[in-house]
């Protein structure tokens, strides 16, 4: 059954203490409350009732809002990377490796990371600002007295939506990035589309695709979670909204790099 009383972090009290404390302590307090928030997420996510309609709506909105941006940047990155890499490879007389090299860097690293950073800027800050303003204007309280578990309705749906939408966006970004690379290759050369992709697929294997795809779920999860956390526990006040949006982006972007580093360590254990 639905829960009416939720554990609310007494952030207003916490904040006063934080101001007096060192940056170090502040950091650990933040990590601590984010951990609690994450645990709470896992407690709620599998427990019925499921907010299916809201989940669908959020998934659509999150994908729809960031799709154009992701496509444009993906194309440009592919194009620019190709143009920039050509001279170096040409020095070694290895110009024919251009498609393969660019494809590997896009799919392994640049596609997922750049897309995630854009996603953090667009979706993470959006979630942070939206929940913070709902918090300030007591909309979250109003949901609670309307028999709705606001954590489930607002947080769980957004985090799940972000977790599953980001990988989809990354796949699109990768594909468009390769297309951009194809254009880049043909600015100063002549490679047919068929040959281009034949070269790429020859150089790519499961070890490139699979870990790169899996890590994007973690990126999406982290971005959705941090945005929700910052918004849900923002300070009551209008300045809290801006702060929540801003720190969502900063914190989520940092998290993307940290997860990426861990992912690379783990995959390199398995390769050779």
């Amino acid at each position: 059954m639905k829960k009416i009383t939720l554990p609310k972090l007494q952030n207003e009290n916490l904040d006063e203490e934080i101001v007096k404390d060192s940056v170090f302590k502040k950091f650990f307090l933040e990590v601590y409350s984010l951990t609690i928030f994450t645990l709470h997420f896992f407690r709620e996510v599998f427990k019925p009732p499921y907010e299916f309609n809201e989940l669908m709506k959020q998934t659509f909105l999150i994908g729809y809002k960031s799709f154009p941006l992701v496509i444009i940047t993906g194309f440009i990155i592919g194009l620019v990377l190709t143009i920039q890499s050509r001279p170096t490879l040409a020095n070694f007389g290895a110009e024919s490796w251009l498609p393969a090299m660019v494809a590997v860097s896009i799919i392994r690293e640049i596609g997922p990371v750049i897309t995630s950073l854009i996603f953090a800027g667009k979706v993470g800050s959006g979630i942070g600002a939206e929940l913070a303003s709902m918090n300030v204007t007591q909309q979250i309280d109003a949901m609670q007295v309307s028999d709705t578990n606001p954590f489930k309705y607002l947080v769980v749906t957004r985090v799940v939506a972000a977790t599953f939408m980001l990988p989809v966006l990354v796949v699109f970004a990768d594909m468009v990035g390769l297309l951009g690379s194809f254009v880049g290759v043909n600015l100063k050369g002549d490679v047919s589309l068929h040959l281009f992709f034949a070269q790429i697929f020859q150089s790519l294997d499961f070890n490139d695709l699979f870990p790169a795809f899996i890590k994007t779920f973690f990126f999406g999860f982290a971005i959705g979670l941090i945005g929700s956390y910052k918004g849900y526990y923002s300070n009551k006040g209008t300045e809290g909204v801006g702060k929540a949006a801003n720190s969502s982006v900063v914190f989520a972007s940092l998290m993307v790099f940290i997860i990426d580093m861990i992912a690379v360590q783990i995959t390199s254990l398995y390769q050779n």
């Binding site: 059954m1 639905k2 829960k3 009416i4 009383t5 007494q10 207003e12 009290n13 939206e130 303003s133 709902m134 204007t137 007591q138 909309q139 309280d141 109003a142 609670q144 007295v145 309307s146 028999d147 709705t148």
Partner: protein, 258 residues
């Protein structure tokens, strides 16, 4: 299970003749800030009780304790004769369904239209309700507060007074037995304030609701109150009808009525 409980409690509400809400020695602190020290309060069926008190005395906290948005540290709270602390979660939800809460800021859902704002509590609390029923309830609620035209607008397109009325409509749509109004007229011009006050009175008469009305607006208190309670330093410092308190010996109490 849930429907069974609901039936029991709802039938108890119908039978109820005594007080619908009783607070005994209620206490609530935030850190060292002892907001509510010892609140004793009785609300009878069909009664409008106005709560006065200076800003920051804990009036909002008081009614938040009733719906569970704040948790009292100590003391007892009886709603429809039931001790809240002895109820399980399902029973609590069923009881709270009968309580309407008008937020100080309106707390309208910005991302939804006026209509969706009104549909939200209906869909969330009355699960087996048809589309037609929802629509007719929404229509009725909007008509009650005179907002028929605004059905497809978003809250940001409404004026302050319209927002207040929408908040009121959203709270009233479930026909609660107990209404908690947090400053229903603050920030409105005297004429609109008067309209809202009359609306509160109309609700009381039409649905026989019992209400707590927090306000700084003494005209609103005059129109709506059957009884007035003044809160000072975390306790109920004075209690009486409007005319009694107006003539009080205590200059501090009289100061509210000037």
């Amino acid at each position: 299970m849930s429907t069974q409980v609901q039936k029991n409690i709802v039938s108890e509400i119908e039978d109820q003749t005594g007080p619908v809400l009783v607070m005994e020695h209620l206490k609530k602190s935030f850190g060292n800030n002892h907001v509510l020290r010892d609140i004793n309060l009785v609300i009878n069926k069909g009664e409008n009780v106005v709560v006065l008190g200076k800003s920051g005395t804990g009036k909002s906290v008081l009614i938040k304790c009733i719906v569970g948005l704040d948790e009292p540290d100590d003391g007892k709270l009886f709603i429809f004769g039931q001790d809240i602390s002895e109820l399980d979660e399902d029973e609590l939800i069923d009881i709270r369904r009968k309580i309407g809460f008008l937020f100080q800021s309106g707390a309208l859902y910005d991302s939804m239209t006026v209509r969706e704002n009104l549909e939200f509590p209906l869909r969330r609390q009355l699960h087996s309700i048809s589309k037609d029923e929802i629509f007719s309830l929404v229509k009725e609620a909007l008509k009650n507060v005179g907002l028929d035209e605004a059905i497809d607008k978003t809250p940001s397109e409404l004026s302050g007074g319209m927002r207040k009325r929408l908040g009121l409509a959203r709270t009233l749509i479930l026909k609660p037995s107990i209404m908690l109004y947090d400053e229903p007229t603050t920030g409105l011009d005297p004429i609109t304030s008067k309209e809202i006050s009359k609306l509160i009175l109309k609700v009381q008469e039409k649905y026989n609701t019992s209400s707590i009305i927090i306000t700084h607006d003494i005209d609103c208190a005059k129109i709506t109150a059957n009884r007035i309670i003044v809160i000072k330093e975390g306790i109920c410092a004075a209690e009486g009808t409007y005319s009694e308190l107006e003539k009080s010996e205590d200059p501090w109490i009289r100061s509210f009525f000037e």
